[in-house]
Subunit: 233 residues, 2 copies
Amino acid sequence: MKPPAVVLLSGGLDSAVTFAAAKKDGFRPHALTVDYGQRHLVEIESARRVASALGAAEHIVISVPLHIWGGSALTGQGAVPKRGPGDEKPADEIPATYVPARNTVLLSLALAWAETLGATDIYIGVNSIDYSGYPDCRPEYIEAFERMARLATKASVAQGKTLRIHTPLISLAKAEIITLGAELGVDFSLTHSCYDPDESGRPCGLCDSCAIRLKGFRDAGLADPVEYQAGSK
Amino acid sequence: MKPPAVVLLSGGLDSAVTFAAAKKDGFRPHALTVDYGQRHLVEIESARRVASALGAAEHIVISVPLHIWGGSALTGQGAVPKRGPGDEKPADEIPATYVPARNTVLLSLALAWAETLGATDIYIGVNSIDYSGYPDCRPEYIEAFERMARLATKASVAQGKTLRIHTPLISLAKAEIITLGAELGVDFSLTHSCYDPDESGRPCGLCDSCAIRLKGFRDAGLADPVEYQAGSK
């Protein structure tokens, strides 16, 4: 049987491609979705569809109420920043949609499950190119987490296993991620990227995440199969 | 106003002493209790009493269902190991009560709250002497977490702040922790250490945690004010 790996699956495009990459690498992916108080449960539903379509060995959705102390437009009541039509480049500063210590919490939970499964491999779809404003998406952060994780667990200490954090997308541009996903057979219509969908779950086409996604499809020369809100695309 | 610090507070003796040490260090402690699916809610109640008695600026109890994937006698249905009367030394192997990646999850949540508060200081009552079987209680693990955390957060990256993980108990024997707590005015009767209390919350006096606590009080020349189950002490 193939070795298990824990794949963090948000329901977004990047984590779906990451899941497909873990399968291609020869792992049996166990999908972990963390519901950290996102305002839109449509993300969780997307994660369920992606896990099912891509053949997860198991899919766990764990609730961790990171909104309990506030601190982000994604988990609080603040307005999500929108872009103008000609303003497609992310700002250099850290975005307001940053969730405090998010990837550290996500990777910690993945580490806990990995240890329970006897898995030594964790996949996360971080990307340091299009999201350079997030400190916890940088290679030096991931390396520091991996080093810490190798000291943290019973498995790595007592059994001599070497834990690895895989970040197959970390140095890819969005268009390259989309091309890779298309090659690996990812059905992008199942994925959800929008920070501000309407009541039926359709993406706004205007938030940072939609703008980056749409530019990525254009640059890759592919059509985004997702249906956007009227007049927004 | 004193600077804020996040203190991980379990309701046990060690974290209560750690909280008192944070106050003595000049911080305004914000207490964080993580309910990770412990079998005994008496621990959470103890944490509330300790936070109130020691004057927490705020006390948050966050539920993170780490039992969702099993893996420990503390969060599962397995029997808690007991000691014989003459067998007080912890075994060299990692105990069955180990919770996978527990301190990594706890510290990650503390980091998220610290960032939201604008705090750069986190306190955790780990101890590498009496709990040497836990990999995530060792100084090299804590240093690796601190290094990772300094790369992880908006505060540390964008604002040049230096995050610190404080472990005032890490090299103290249990008797020294108890002596320190007594000096700092900790009311030990509010704390709870037992892995296997009875229905009214009284400690068993026989599990690893009770055995270490009772030996600590004896070595410190102090009486444990907690009432144990009949015939167990």
